[in-house]
Amino acid sequence: MLRFVVRRLALMVPVLVGLSILLFVWIRALPGEPARSMLGQRATPEAIERINNLYGFNDPVLQQYFTYVGRLIRGDFGESTRNGDPVVSTFFDQFPATIELSFAALLFAIVLGIPLGYWAGRRVGGWLDNVIVSTSLLGVVTPVFFLAILLKLVFAEYLDWFPTSRRSDARIEATHITNFYVLDGLITREWDAAWDAIVHLILPGIALGTIPLAIIVRITRAAVADVMGEDYVRTAYSKGLDPAIIRNRHVMRNALLPVVTTIGLQTGLLLSGAVLTESVFEIGGIGRYLFEAISQRDYPVLQAYILFIALIFSIVNLLVDVSYGVIDPRVRVS
């Protein structure tokens, strides 16, 4: 297992290096200059020139790349050209927000999706299956931001059950240690703050979680339907076991294998969706920030963030594979 993990980590290196080169070239292919973003509306050509010289934007791309790599090696990811914030520290400032959101979304998707998928998959073609499948399809085809706007309109503005935006209520005293607001609230025993953070996560979590939910429902359903037809389930029935044991030990434990993989694959989707959800709900996470970085040519942020995201993506997939090994003993040995 350890060998496997090490190997996978090692395999990530070429991908990340490739990505960093690709990104570097790509980002410099973006028209428009970071200098313009830095200087604003009425920047004079001289000022732009000075910025370009100062930051080396005029150097040959190759030279810029090596400078960049040189700094990377020293652990320096640079600073945002927009506001000078050190990229790493902003990333860690904002990342908790995105993780919290994604986690809420996944939680919603998993907690709801797996049972629904199970019920649908047990009787493929039954009325319950049809209801679940068609509802989950609706989930897939509704654009994330549209759903987000609708949820916000109905549940925050019209019904006033939930806050309209942001991660926390400014009126509630909260101490932030980790920047995971829910966690912070729990650590500091500021229960109201923790609760407030949870309440703020509900609508965005649902909006972001709906597509994963639909996907999880579908995969679970298919997996359950497949597993139900497996010989070992028939064996389990032939043993006269308690239905609950058959469901949990024999059906679900096997059906979860593809589901776990799918959950891992949702990471990319979640981050895409986070860009939109964070915009609608005004959450200061990396999604929104990254989008702004792209449109404003914030090279250092772009480079570092996309690399970080790719890294996280790979790590999540690694974790998925590892957890796969935990559930599936067949993977464990090899």
């Binding site: 060998r3 090490v6 190997r7 090692a10 395999l11 290196v13």
Partner: protein, 359 residues
């Protein structure tokens, strides 16, 4: 002792060559599939020794049977002969031509002369091709002039399928009919050698005989040479003139069909023979059964010495686990790879009765 043994070995490998017309000559064939492991770059840390030093002579116009348990390397051997997998060592001469040395076009045209029939008839047919395409495509590929309608009909007729089958697709046929299509495709090229890898084991019992008979009839009509691979000793014995018994990548015994049945010499063959059930209560009730313990060891990590020694009821304290026995001629036309073949015949070496439970 050693001296004598070397002699017999030489004798064994030289003799068949000199005798009558051998269509296929295999010498020292090995196929090892590397097992790769590594942190960044794959290193080969071992190998699945699927085929590990096989000599084989298939006489022209005859049927040669290859029998052995699942995983012992039969299919790999068949494929290696056709260069469908690359052999690791050894050579294969087909009608005097070294198949291993052929490349590109030469190899391609050589393939026309050696064909294969597969175990799973459905899987070996492209589901998107009609029977007509399946049969005519190889003809086209080899630039063989043919009149489309006639040749396909001819071949179908040969394998006992109606002409109307030509326009249909594989999944519309029953298992036996599919196998006929597979055979039709193989014979369409008028090959000299057909390697049939488990040609009947996926078929219903009641159909197997049809296919076996078909194969026999085609051999008669077309003068084919067969290498029939199967795990079912009864089937192999039925159609083959010469049989080789394979165990864990190597051949342990080879002789003609009659001899093998009457006087099996290798302990594995003896056990195999005794394990095959016979549909006759009278015989079944009186049979002596030699049960082997355990399973086929992994070809990735084969036992030392005699590959069979871990399961062999006749295993002796010496040599069996240290020295790999060579396939040697012990009587005319009968070759066995066992150190104690003669002693077993003589009864000086007897099976251990106290062998462990079938592990």
């Amino acid at each position: 002792m050693t001296e004598r043994r070397r002699e017999t070995a030489e004798e064994a490998s030289s003799k068949p060559d000199s005798t009558n017309d051998q269509l296929l000559v295999v010498r020292g064939l090995k196929v090892h599939f590397p097992i790769k492991h590594g942190i960044l770059f794959d290193r080969t840390v071992g190998a699945v020794q699927a085929v590990d030093g096989v000599d084989l002579d298939v006489p022209r116009g005859r049927t040669f049977g290859l029998v052995g348990e699942s995983g012992c390397g039969k299919s790999t051997l068949g494929r290696a002969i056709l260069r469908l997998v690359e052999p690791t060592a050894g050579n294969v001469r087909f009608d005097g031509v070294d198949v291993a040395s052929l490349q590109g076009e030469k190899l391609r045209s050589m393939r026309r002369r050696m064909q294969m029939v597969f175990q799973d008839p459905l899987a070996s047919l492209n589901p998107r091709q009609s029977v007509e395409t399946i049969i005519s495509e190889p003809l086209r590929a080899h630039g063989i002039e043919y009149s489309k309608k006639n040749r396909v009909r001819e071949v179908l007729d040969l394998v006992g399928l109606p002409a109307s089958a030509a326009t249909r697709f594989p999944h519309e046929f029953s298992g036996g009919q599919r196998q006929r299509i597979g055979i039709a495709r193989a014979v369409a090229l008028e090959p000299e050698l057909i390697i049939a890898d488990e040609p009947v084991s996926a078929l219903d019992v009641s159909i197997q005989a049809q296919i076996i008979n078909l194969l026999e009839e085609l051999q008669e009509r077309l003068g084919l040479t067969y290498l029939v691979i199967a795990h079912d000793l009864a089937v192999v014995r039925h159609i083959s003139e010469e049989i080789a018994v394979m165990y864990l990548g190597g051949i342990v015994e080879q002789t003609d069909s009659e001899q093998l049945y009457l006087t099996p010499r290798h302990p594995y063959t003896i056990a195999l023979m005794s394990a095959v059930p016979v549909p006759d209560p009278a015989i079944e009730d009186h049979r002596q059964r030699i049960l082997l313990s355990g399973d086929l060891p992994s070809p990735a990590n084969p036992p030392s010495g005699c590959r069979f020694h871990t399961r062999c009821p006749y295993r002796q304290e010496t040599r069996c686990d240290t020295e790999r026995p060579e396939l040697r001629l012990i009587s005319p036309g009968h070759r066995v790879a066992c150190h104690y073949a003669e002693e077993i015949v003589a009864g000086t070496v007897t099976p251990k009765v106290d062998a462990a439970l079938p592990v």
